[in-house]
Symmetry: C2
């Protein structure tokens, strides 16, 4: 059975000091319903991605919070969690629930309120995505983990510090006019390499920010989708796992879960990498966009930087990546996977703010932690 995305909505990615987690969730959900042209009572189930609201704001049971606040009880609500991949995870579970025949119209959303926690609390909460016993407990941070990956990659494949900076340079450029982006300014290679050092070699401008935000999409079964204008079809969905701790991997310069999830999604969608017109890749830290190019088959191993040097992944290039600015311009962790899906849905509907002309097939890639969870989704436009 085919499943479509028929509505999208999100909040601005920002430090939302005057909004709570429930406010943010409602805003995104309402926008998605409005975009789909339906009412809350048309929704049969809710799936919500959230990483760490227990630690961030003292609230678990996010599914119940969302369905209650929306006034949609008694429909079922489910929270899914796989760290920074929680949004895509919720999307995939909603997709499988429709495919099972249980529901026809489902809302899949994601939300995270990250700024309400004091001091270094956000850093500690985010390390819940890694291995508590073997990584967090010895003081590693997520920037530290990706710094280890960056150092290994730079050494093995002769990637220079300046070349690595091309990722945030591109993504800031892409997000310049994105009304939902946390930042709207361009950065130069010099800005990046002179920004404060966080975990050598990664600097402040290599890192995605701490963000409050929420995003939601409406999914519909093939039958139900007929009622909607401009559905975007889910062509493939892949999910895979890798070791939780980085030290258990055979290689620090690739993420096996990304490779496996991509393979599953390409196979189900029956498309090849070269068919992808536009993609959202998980650029939590600059090095990961380059590794993702290679894990997903956009570039040969070690050659990822060429896509940047040749501007192939820029808007206007052969295969634009992170046309909304990516995670670099907002990473409300539980919502991130859904916001990626929204950007691809908009590109395939033709109403993205950085519209890629004639885009017909798009891809999202979302990972949790250092890739212990990876999800890849492939979407096709109605005109496909």
């Amino acid at each position: 059975m085919r499943v479509a995305v028929v509505g999208v909505g999100m909040t601005k990615q920002d430090e939302h000091w005057h909004k709570s987690l429930r406010d943010l969730s409602m805003e995104a959900g309402s926008e998605a319903l409005k975009d789909a042209g339906i009412d809350g009572k048309d929704i049969q189930a809710i799936y919500i991605g959230n990483m760490a609201s227990g630690r961030f704001v003292g609230q678990e049971h996010l599914g119940a919070l969302a369905v209650d606040q929306a006034g949609l009880t008694p429909i079922p609500a489910t929270r899914c969690e796989a760290a920074c991949a929680s949004g895509s995870l919720a999307f995939r579970k909603a997709y499988l629930a429709i495919r099972s025949g249980e529901y026809d119209i489902v809302l899949a959303g994601g939300a995270e309120k990250m700024t309400d926690i004091k001091g270094q609390g956000a850093i500690a909460a985010l390390m819940g995505a890694g291995d508590q016993e073997w990584e967090s407990a010895v003081g590693l941070t997520f920037t530290g983990l990706y710094a280890l990956m960056a150092r290994a990659y730079m050494s093995k494949y002769k990637l220079s510090r300046e070349e690595l900076a091309l990722v945030p340079v591109k993504n800031h450029k892409h997000g310049l006019n994105n009304p939902y982006a946390q930042f709207n300014y361009e950065v130069t290679v010099e800005d990046v390499i002179k920004s404060p050092l966080i975990a050598d070699p990664l600097r402040l401008l290599d890192c995605s920010p701490i963000t409050d935000g929420s995003a939601a999409v409406i999914l519909a079964s093939e039958k139900a989708a007929k009622k909607f204008k401009n559905p975007v079809w889910v062509l493939g969905s892949g999910q895979a796992s890798d070791t939780l701790a980085l030290h258990n991997r055979k290689s620090l310069t690739e993420i096996v879960s990304s490779q496996v999830a991509a393979k599953l999604a390409y196979k189900q969608a029956n498309v090849k990498q070269k068919n992808i017109d536009v993609a959202e890749l998980h650029d939590c830290f600059s090095i990961e966009e380059i590794i993702a190019y290679e894990d997903l088959g956009f570039a040969e191993k070690g050659k990822g930087k060429e896509l940047l040097l040749n501007k192939e992944t820029y808007v206007g290039g052969r295969m634009p990546v992170n046309t909304d600015g990516g995670l670099k311009l907002g990473h409300p962790v539980g919502a991130t996977g859904i916001k990626q899906i929204i950007e691809i849905a908009r590109q395939l509907r033709g109403d993205a703010f950085n519209q890629i002309k004639g885009a017909k097939i798009g891809l999202t890639h979302n990972i949790g932690g250092t890739g212990a969870t990876a999800l890849v989704h492939i979407f096709g436009s109605e005109k496909l």
Copy 2:
């Protein structure tokens, strides 16, 4: 498509000072595989229920932890959360995933390590199941919330303090020989009403304990189930929601989500309440077992106590409830829904330690918080 439970395993419910969350998860998973007579490599996906490991032990991303520790990467792993209903939620998502055609053999588990948090931390972490802004923030505890329900019920339906004590008296009796129970002793009505007051009218022996533990079951599609001995079939699965905060409900003496989830499950299973031979009901606090009798149609409204007074819900009675001792003898919150399913599966296979002769249809009822989430599952034996 029909789905069966083909293997079960769990740890003792206890204060496991020498085992970590990952140790507990592995123990239950291994037991379930052994019981099913299969190998880890036969599993195609993992679903894990966990409420608050971020706050309890600093670890989110529980799906990845489980699949990694089991050596089963790169298969996909998903954490589901709905407070104390997380285990049943994971089970239902695994069930829907099989029904979608995506997988044939899936492990659904639950785990919680609750004793590693300091001081009053567990009480605060558990309040993440309630409404943080409207309940936790003003100092309500979960015992406090259920005490409000108990007081309303006792006043409205003339339930005496002594009659309320019959719930833990029965459940302690049932769990006396349960090797997996946290406590193995009987209590009297006098013991209960003289135990320390926690939140008036609820006393220590009205409350489920803080428990470490894990539980796992193996689910198989109809086709795959043919290879297994003694499958137990999922006849019905219902999930529903109610308001997160108690004060938003029309009544404090019933839980609408339980009623709706039960209705959905009965309808799908095409059975009536009178057909149920044995049930596990969510007795987190003594009052909730009585309310559940009524929400699930085992007794008329206000008459729940009669099932206890007439010993109908005792082993040997018309419809035994909590034959393993229920949550009263162990409530590792994320694992609880799965342990309930294990008890019913064992009853229907014929190898429970408090075996109900000829039991053919069983039911589990698992709620999150004060019932903002409810799940009801109905199972049937192979001989049905």
